[in-house]
Amino acid sequence: MEHAKLNPELVSLVQQWKGKEGNLIMILHEIQNHHGYVPRELSLELSRMLDVPLARIYEVVTFYNFFKLTPPGKHRIALCMGTACYLRGAAVILEEIKNILGIKEGQTTKDGLFYLDVVRCLGCCGLAPVVMIDNKVYGKVKKSEVADILSKYIKEE
C-alpha cells in the first residue's frame, strides 16, 4: 500500500500534543476538523508518529459517534433526534429529507452535496424540531418547508 506523504500540518499538530497524556482524541478532533473525517492514511501515519497501534486508533474512532471514517458531503445536514424534537415530529421531518434526497442517515447523496446525520440534541430544544445544515440552524421546521430549505443549497451550485 502506498504511504501517504508526511503532512506538515499533522506533524506540527502531533508535536504540539505529543507530550501530553491522553492526546489521541484531541488529535483526532483536529484531523476531523481539518478533513471532515479521519482518513485511513492519516490514521496510519498517526499510528507511527505516536507509536500507538492502528487498532487502538480504530477502536477509538469507531467508539465515538462524532468521528467519521468516510468523507462527508459538501453540506452536512444534522437532524436533531433529541426528545423535544422527537415529540414535535422530527421523525416526520427525517422521512421527508430521506424521501427528497433518496439517502439514509449516515449517507452522502450521489452528487456529494448533502450528508445526512441524525444527532442527539443540538441543545436548542425551544426551537424543536431542529435541522442544522452546516452551521445554520433551522427551527420549528415543518414537513412542508423541508424541500424549500434544501433547494436553497441545491440552487447555490
Partner: protein, 580 residues
C-alpha cells in the same frame, strides 16, 4: 448617551417581519420626537416570553409589555422616560417567581469579558477561600450549604471533596463534567456559554479544596460556542493570575485544560469520562474504587457537574447558611430545568427545590402548546421516568422524584400531552440507550436490546399479555446487574410507564389500538363522508394509490393497500380524514 434601552421581539411564530416593522415604527417615532439619542432600540432574538404578540422590554427598568399594538408606541416611550410609570394593561406579569442563582449572570454580563464577571462580584469567593478560609473551613461551608451534585445522582458535594482531600497523593485532579448528553437538556450549555467564569471559579475552588494541581473541562464537541467561551475565559483567568502558579499570591498552583467529548452519552458517567480523557474508549469501570480514591491516571479525582460548580462561588460569597435556607429538607438550593416538549414557553427555568412540577409546567411555562391537557411529565432524560398528570403536585427534590420512579437527572423536563403514546416514549428512550450502550457489560447490552424488541412488538400490535411480565423482569435485572448508571437506569422509562400507564400497554396488546394515535401499525385512516368535499387531494397525494373512488361517488381508503404514511391526513383541508 442612552438612558433607556427598549428591546423588541415579535413572539408569535412566523411573524419575524413584524418585529422589523414595529422596530422601524418605534425608531421613526423616536426620531420625530428627537428622543433617539436617549432611547436605544434593539431587536432581540429571544426575549423570554412566547406567543404573546409583539413584546417590548424596557431596560434598566425590566418592565415587559406584551401584545403591543402600533398605537402603543407613544405610551411606551412616555412611560419609559417617566419616573417609574408603568402601563398596567400591557404589562407582563409572570405568575410564579423563579430564583436565579446558577443563572445569576446569564444574559446580564458579557460572557467574554472577565472584567464584567469581576465587577459583578466574580472571583471574590476565590479570594476569600485562598485568603481566609483554607481547606477545612471551605469544606465545612460546603457541608453546611447541603449542596448535592447536580449531575443527577445527588451525591453530597462536600463528601466527594472530603474523600479526595483525605487521600495522600502527590497528584490529584479536578474535572468539570460538561458532557451534557441528555437529549432535551441544555442547562449546562447555557451556563458555559453565558457565564463561563462562574464555572471556572467553582473548579478552581474545588481544586483548592482537595489540593489538586491540574483541572480539566470535559466538554461535548457538539457545543462549539461553549468550548470557545471556556477557552477564552481560561486564557483571561491566566492573564489575571487566577490560574497558573501562585494564584492571587498564595502558594496554590493550578492549570486547567480542555478535553473534548466525541459524542458518547455514556461518557457522562464518571468512570467512562475518565477513560475518555485518558484518550481511550469511554467504557465505565466498576466502582468502588470511586474516582475520589482512584480516578484519572489512577490518582484521586473529583468530578463535578457544571451546575454544581456554578453554585460554589455564590455559596462561598453568601455563606452556606444562606444557601441552606433555600430548598427542602434534603435538597438545598435551586435547580435549573430545561422545560421542553409540548409546552407553550419552552426554556430554562430555575426554581428553588420544593416547587411543584405543576408550578413549573403550568405557571411558569404556561401549560401545553396545544391547549390539550397534560398527560405526563418526564424528568431525567433516558435515565428518568414518566410522571403522570395526577402527581404533578409533588414538590421537586431528589427523594420525591426517586419515589415516583424517576430521577432528578441533569435537569431535562419534557412535557407530554394526549397525543404522546406511553409505549412509544419508552421505546424512544430505550432506543437511545441501546445505541449508546458501550457494550461492556451484558445486562445493559443484551437487556436493553431485548426490552426494545418487546416494545417494538407491542407497538406493532403483536404483543401478548405475558410480554409485560418479561419487560419487568428484564428491567429489574438491568437495574441490579448493570455496571454503570446508564444500564442501571435505562429501564426507568419502561418501568415508570408500566407503573402509571399499564392500561395503555394493554390497549396495544389486547385491543390492538394506540389511544394516542402514534403507533403507525395500529392506526387506520378512513374518510368521513359528511365532511368530505370530494376535492380529490387525498387521492392525488396517496403514494400507494390506496384511495379509490372519484369526484362523483366519493372516496374511500383501501385498508389492505394503505401504508399508513398519513399523507392524506396532512393534506386534507376539511379534516375529513379520520385517524384512529
Amino acid at each position: 448617551m442612552y438612558t433607556k434601552v427598549i428591546l423588541v421581539k415579535d413572539t408569535d411564530l412566523k411573524r419575524e417581519d413584524k418585529t422589523r416593522e414595529f422596530y422601524t415604527r418605534l425608531l421613526d417615532y423616536l426620531r420625530e420626537a428627537s428622543l433617539h439619542e436617549q432611547i436605544q432600540v434593539v431587536r432581540v432574538a429571544d426575549i423570554g416570553v412566547y406567543e404573546q404578540g409583539l413584546v417590548v422590554k424596557v431596560l434598566p427598568d425590566k418592565v415587559t409589555y406584551i401584545n403591543v399594538q402600533d398605537e402603543d408606541v407613544k405610551k411606551i416611550v412616555d412611560a419609559a422616560l417617566s419616573d417609574g410609570k408603568i402601563i398596567e394593561d400591557l404589562v407582563f406579569k409572570p405568575k410564579a417567581k423563579q430564583c436565579r442563582i446558577v443563572l445569576r449572570n446569564c444574559g446580564k454580563i458579557d460572557p467574554e469579558s472577565i472584567e464584567d464577571y469581576i465587577s459583578s462580584g466574580g472571583y471574590l469567593a476565590l479570594k476569600k477561600v485562598l485568603g481566609e478560609l483554607g481547606q477545612q473551613k471551605l469544606i465545612d461551608e460546603i457541608k453546611i450549604s447541603g449542596i448535592r451534585g447536580r449531575g443527577g445522582a445527588g451525591y453530597p458535594t462536600w463528601m466527594k471533596w472530603n474523600f479526595a482531600r483525605e487521600m495522600n497523593s502527590a497528584e490529584k485532579f479536578v474535572i468539570c463534567n460538561a458532557d451534557e448528553g441528555d437529549p432535551g437538556a441544555y442547562m449546562d450549555r447555557s451556563v458555559l456559554e453565558g457565564d463561563p467564569h462562574s464555572v471556572i471559579e467553582g473548579l478552581i475552588i474545588a481544586a483548592f479544596a482537595i489540593g489538586a494541581s491540574k483541572g480539566y473541562f470535559y466538554i461535548r464537541a457538539e457545543y462549539p460556542l461553549a468550548v470557545e467561551r471556556i477557552q477564552k475565559a481560561i486564557k483571561q483567568a491566566y492573564d489575571y493570575g487566577l490560574l497558573g502558579n501562585n494564584i492571587l499570591g498564595s502558594p496554590f498552583n493550578l492549570d486547567i485544560d480542555i478535553r473534548l467529548g466525541a459524542g458518547a452519552f455514556v461518557c457522562g458517567e464518571e468512570t467512562a469520562l475518565i477513560s475518555s480523557i485518558e484518550g481511550k474508549r469511554g467504557t465505565p469501570h466498576p466502582r468502588p474504587p470511586y474516582p475520589s480514591v482512584k480516578g484519572l491516571w489512577g490518582k484521586p479525582t473529583v468530578i463535578n457537574n457544571v451546575e454544581t460548580l456554578a453554585n460554589i462561588p455564590v455559596i462561598i460569597a453568601k455563606g452556606g447558611k444562606w444557601f441552606a435556607q433555600i430548598g427542602t429538607q434534603t435538597s438545598k438550593g435551586t435547580k435549573v430545568f430545561a422545560v421542553t416538549g409540548k409546552v407553550k414557553n419552552s426554556g430554562l427555568v430555575e426554581i428553588a427545590m420544593g416547587a411543584t412540577l405543576r408550578e413549573i409546567v403550568m405557571d411558569i411555562c404556561g401549560g401545553t402548546l396545544s391547549g390539550k391537557p397534560i398527560k405526563a411529565v418526564q424528568t431525567g432524560g433516558p435515565s428518568g421516568g414518566v410522571i403522570p398528570e395526577n402527581l404533578l403536585d409533588t414538590p421537586v427534590d431528589y427523594e420525591n422524584l426517586q419515589k415516583l420512579g424517576s430521577i432528578m437527572g441533569s435537569g431535562g423536563m419534557i412535557v407530554m400531552d394526549e397525543d404522546d403514546c406511553m409505549v412509544d416514549i419508552p421505546k424512544f428512550y430505550l432506543g437511545f440507550c441501546v445505541e449508546e450502550s458501550c457494550g461492556k457489560c451484558a445486562p445493559c447490552r443484551i437487556g436493553g436490546f431485548q426490552m426494545l424488541g418487546y416494545l417494538k412488538k407491542i407497538s406493532e400490535g403483536r404483543g401478548i399479555p405475558e410480554d409485560l411480565g418479561q419487560l419487568r423482569r428484564i428491567a429489574q435485572s438491568m437495574q441490579k446487574a448493570s455496571l454503570c448508571g446508564l444500564g442501571q437506569t435505562a429501564s426507568n422509562p419502561v418501568l415508570s410507564t408500566l407503573k402509571y400507564f399499564e392500561d395503555e400497554y394493554n390497549e396495544h396488546i389486547l385491543n390492538k389500538r394506540c389511544p394516542a394515535g402514534k403507533c403507525s401499525s395500529l392506526i387506520t385512516y378512513s374518510i368521513i363522508e359528511d365532511k368530505c368535499k370530494r376535492c380529490g387531494i387525498c387521492f392525488t397525494n396517496c403514494p400507494v394509490k390506496a384511495i379509490s373512488g372519484g369526484k362523483e361517488e366519493g372516496y374511500s381508503v383501501i385498508q389492505d393497500k394503505c401504508i399508513k404514511c398519513g399523507r392524506c391526513f396532512d393534506v386534507c383541508k376539511f379534516k375529513a380524514i379520520n385517524k384512529k
